[in-house]
Structures are given as C-alpha cells and as structure tokens.
C-alpha cells in the first residue's frame, strides 16, 4: 500500500513536469523542423535545422526587436534595482516626516490596475514626443511599488548593529547603503532582478500601446505581429517564441538558487 502510494506520488511529480516542460520541448522541435515536414508529427532527426532561426533573424526584424527588448529591459531593470532599493531602505531605516504616509502610498498604489492610467499616460507621453521612443518605453517604468515593498521587508531583517558600527566609524548614509547594506541584500536583489527583468522583458500591453513602427517594437510585440501575418509557418513562429523565451529562462536558471530564499527572507507573503 505504502509502495503503491509512493509510486502514484512519483507519477504525479513527473507527470506535472511533463505538462510544464512538454510544450517547450514540442515547440523547440517544431522550430528546428523544415517547412516540408510541418504537417507530420514524426521527427526526422537528420532533417532538423537552424534555418528557421536564420530566416527570422535575416529576413525579418527579430534581431532588431531582440535588441530593443534588451535595451529597454536593461534600463528598466537597473533603474528598479537602484530606485526600489533606495526607497525600500529609506522606508525601513531612515527617520523623516511623512514616512508612514509614503509607505501607505506604496501599498495603496499597488492595488491600482495599470489600465486605469493607460489613457492619460499615453496622452502625456505623446505630448512629450516620447511615443515610439526608448524614453517612452523606459522612463515611466523605473520604479515599482511591489519592488519597494519587497526591499523594505528585506531591509527590516538586517541587524541594525552593522549600520550603527559604520556610523560610529564616520560613514555617511549613502556610504552605509552602498557599501554595507546592498552587499548584504543579495538574495533580495536577485529576487527583485528576476521579477523586474522577466516582468519587463515579457511586457506586452504597454509596449504595444507605446510603439507604432516595427523598428521600435519589443520582442513580444514583434512576435505577435509576425504571428498575425505568418501564422501558417509554425516552425518560424516557434523559433520566434523560443527566442523570446530563452533569455528569461537562462536568467532564472542562473539566479534561481537565491530565489526561494529571497522570497522567504523578504517576508513576501
């Protein structure tokens, strides 16, 4: 009986991994298939080819979209890591009038769906001439209330004694923040990095609103428009999907060992 249960348990465990990984495996295989073999489920290993990737990069602007996404995600992620950490630290450690109000604001504004400000933000950005520019795709997204909350919770767990010792040694708040506090925050920073990078890299609603010409598309917007025109070429669509998916998976694999710890220590729950 016990053995039976154990066996069933492992079927569930492995089976669910099949459900999560299966679609990726099938789309990778498809992305390597020549168009002539698209209609069959059989896979002829000898015929697998990287041609579809070559095709979407040389004949279609996937490389440009990839670079756009990389630039935007890099700026937004870096801005969030810095600004959210700064704000989170101030809310956790520094005394100033209005601190509680600002913290409440962080929490309250988290509840507002971004769609509420979609129209005015679009009008504002178009008045600034920032629609269809890198400025428009990055500047409005440089801080995140969720990220600030996450960092504050983490900084509360760092023992005060470390900072007090540094104050006695004559270090300024800025020095303490950059030299002592941030290096201690690696799990929280890694967690934030994963959230911010994947969130921005995968973002679709805002970039599709804020870009109007193909040369400014980010990868998700580009893939969607490519799919709209060439949906019968599933091998190339899948190559595009894999190109879009790969960077976030690689980054997650690199930082995942910090991830659960980061979430646990930030009290994000």
């Amino acid at each position: 009986m016990q053995k039976m249960l154990r066996f069933l348990f492992y079927i569930v465990v492995v089976g669910y991994a099949g459900i999560t990984l299966g679609p990726f495996i099938w789309s990778i295989i498809t992305s390597l298939k020549p168009t002539s073999e698209l209609n069959t489920f059989a896979v002829n290993i000898k015929h697998l080819t990287l041609d579809n990737y070559k095709m979407i990069i040389t004949k279609f602007p996937f490389l440009r979209w990839f670079i756009n996404s990389a630039i935007v995600a890099a700026i937004v992620t870096f801005g969030n890591m810095l600004f959210n950490s700064m704000a989170g630290y101030a809310l956790a450690r520094i005394n100033f009038p209005g601190k509680n109000f600002l913290f409440l604001l962080v929490l309250a504004l988290m509840m507002i769906p971004g769609q509420v400000v979609m129209v005015p933000t679009y009008i504002l950005l178009s008045k600034l001439g920032w629609v269809n520019t890198y400025m428009g795709l990055t500047i409005p997204f440089l801080t995140s209330n969720f990220g600030i909350f996450l960092m504050r919770q983490f900084f509360l767990t760092i023992p005060r004694e470390l900072e007090e010792a540094a104050t006695i040694d004559g270090m300024s708040r800025f020095g303490i923040f950059f030299k002592i506090v941030l290096p201690l925050a690696k799990p929280a920073l890694a967690t934030q990095f994963i959230f911010m990078f994947t969130g921005n890299w995968n973002s679709f609603l805002w970039p599709s609103l804020l870009t109007s010409t193909s040369d400014m598309y980010t990868l998700p917007v580009g893939l969607n428009s490519f799919y709209g025109q060439y949906y019968q070429f599933w091998n190339q669509v899948m190559a595009g999907a894999i190109l879009l998916t790969l960077p976030t998976i690689v980054i997650f694999l690199i930082f995942q060992r910090y991830f659960v710890r980061g979430i646990a220590t930030t009290g994000l729950k």
Binding site: N84, L109, P113, Q115
Partner: protein, 299 residues
C-alpha cells in the same frame, strides 16, 4: 546648547537623506501614476477623444450610466468574472499541492522546482502562440485525443471552448508563482510543531489540516488577493489569441481588452477611463471582502 544644535542638524540631515532616497519614487508616481489617475478621473466624466481634445465636453455620469446598458461591457465583465472564478481556485490548489511536493524529501527536488516554475518566467505572448500551435484543430493535443477516439474541438476558435482554453493556459503559466510563495511559507513553519504532533500520534492528513493550513493562512490570503487582482486584469492572452478582437463572438472579450479597444481603436477615451475606474472599484471591493473574511491579514 551646542549638542542640541548638533542633534537638530543631524536630524535635519537624516530627514533630507530620507527624502533624497525617496525622490525617484516620489517623482515617478507623481508624474506617471497620481497625475494620470486624477486626469483619468476627470475625463471619465467627459466625452473625450485624444484625436480632437478641443471637442471634449462634460457629460457628467453619462459614461458610467452607459456602461450598464453596454452589452459588450456586460459580456466582458461576465467573461472576466468566469475567468477569475475558474482560474483563482484551480491555480491556488495546484500551486499548494506542488509546493507540498517540492517541499517534501523527493529526489531531484531542485529540478522539479525549476521545471514547475519555468512557465511563470515565459512571456504570455510566447505561451499564447505555443498553445495556439499545440491546440490547433490538427495539432498535437487533438492528435493525442484522437488516439483515444475523442474528436477534439477547435479550442481557441470555438465559442464554447475559447474562454476555458485561455483559462487553462493562464493556470499553466502562473501556477509556479504561487507555488514559490507557498513554498517560502511552508519553510517558515517551525518543524517543532510537526514533531510535537507526531509524538501525539497525528497522521499526515491531520498534520496538514491542523498545522500546515492554519499556519499558511496569511499566505493563502496574500496569494488569493494577488491571483484575483491578476485575473481581473487579464489582457495579453485574450489579445494574442483573438488578434485583438475578443472573438469568436466576444467569447474572449475581457474588461481590459475592451478598455484597450475603446480607448485606442475607437479613441473613445472618456468612456474607456470610466470603465477602468469601474474595474478598479471591483478589484478594491473584492480585496476588502477577502480582508474581512481572513481578518488577521498580513499587511
């Protein structure tokens, strides 16, 4: 006297440092959140088009009144509600089961954790095209079903199956997120509790219902709120799958997709803003109700 001055100076310096650290946040939310929020509230009482701002005019509550007789909005609200009702509980139950699995002493724990989480880091657009491919009329899924003698539907293009298909896709791609948060919560439960229960002769199920679940209560609350907020804002999948139309026959029209179409295709921006505020109020009320139900919440 001197020390008092020095203390005041230090206090002032401390406060200024605090504001300096907060400045990017304050600037960002003022310009890109609070300002637009006020503006959106104002134009929700106007007939307003971005293309011709000069022709905008006050119409009072007309936009809000119109909502209740707009069949597409009603349909979008119904779809979004069904979507949320289907996705939230299913996703949280699966997430909890998976968290319990990867928290137990199985072989290859890290592998399974990563495998279960990977859909979460994947772009909704990539997931949408991958699922459109897997679930197309003559795709892999229907071919497998045919092996069991089942004639599969056309999933995303069938009026009855389109919304459930998007729900299934959403569950698949976001379960990992909630799993990780449950996992962090599980690891926080002191092992002494389980040891004491074991001494008292409690079996696995008793331990789960008497220790694990009550201890996880705040995390269940957090996940429930996050999942609810997320599901009411569904857009990407519906947009990609229906090519922005909400079709077939409005079967995949969601509130946010309708806001997007009204605001940026029909340029009826006052009406779109009114809809967005109704959505906001719905999310707010649902969150407050849950807070009531759970009483001792986390934050």
């Amino acid at each position: 006297m001197g020390t008092k001055m020095a203390m005041r100076k230090r206090y002032l310096y401390e406060a200024l440092t605090g504001y300096a650290f907060m400045l990017p946040f304050i600037a960002s939310i003022s310009i890109f959140l609070i300002g637009p929020l006020i503006y959106a509230f104002i134009i929700s009482f106007k007939e307003f088009s971005f293309l011709n701002p000069g022709a905008s005019r006050w119409i009072g509550f007309e936009n809000y009144i119109k909502l209740f007789s707009d069949p597409t909005f009603k349909r979008a609200l119904l779809n979004t509600t069904l979507y949320s009702l289907g996705v939230v509980p299913t996703q949280l139950i699966i997430a909890l089961i998976l968290a319990l699995i990867v928290n137990s002493d199985i072989k290859g724990k890290t592998f399974f954790r990563v495998a279960y989480y990977i859909p979460t880091v994947t772009s909704t657009v990539a997931v949408s095209v991958i699922f459109l491919y897997l679930f197309k009329a003559d795709g892999l899924v229907n071919a497998l079903l045919a092996k069991f003698g089942i004639q599969g539907p056309t999933w995303f293009y069938d009026v009855r199956f389109a919304l459930p298909s998007i729900m299934m896709m959403a569950i698949w791609s976001s379960v990992g997120n909630y799993m990780v948060i449950f996992l962090a919560g599980l690891q926080d439960i002191p092992s002494e509790l389980y040891e004491a229960a074991e001494v008292d002769g409690a079996n696995k199920f008793q331990r789960f219902f008497k220790i694990t679940l009550p201890m996880l209560r705040p995390i269940v609350f957090f996940n429930l709120v996050m999942s609810l907020i997320g599901t009411f804002q569904v857009f990407d999948q519906a947009y990609v799958v229906s090519r922005g139309t909400g079709g077939p026959l409005d079967a995949t029209m969601t509130v946010v997709l309708y806001i997007y179409r009204t605001g940026f295709r029909d340029f009826n921006m006052g009406y779109a803003s009114a809809m967005a505020f109704v959505l906001f109020v719905i999310i707010l009320i649902l969150t407050l109700i849950q807070r009531r139900l759970f009483k001792e919440e986390t934050y």
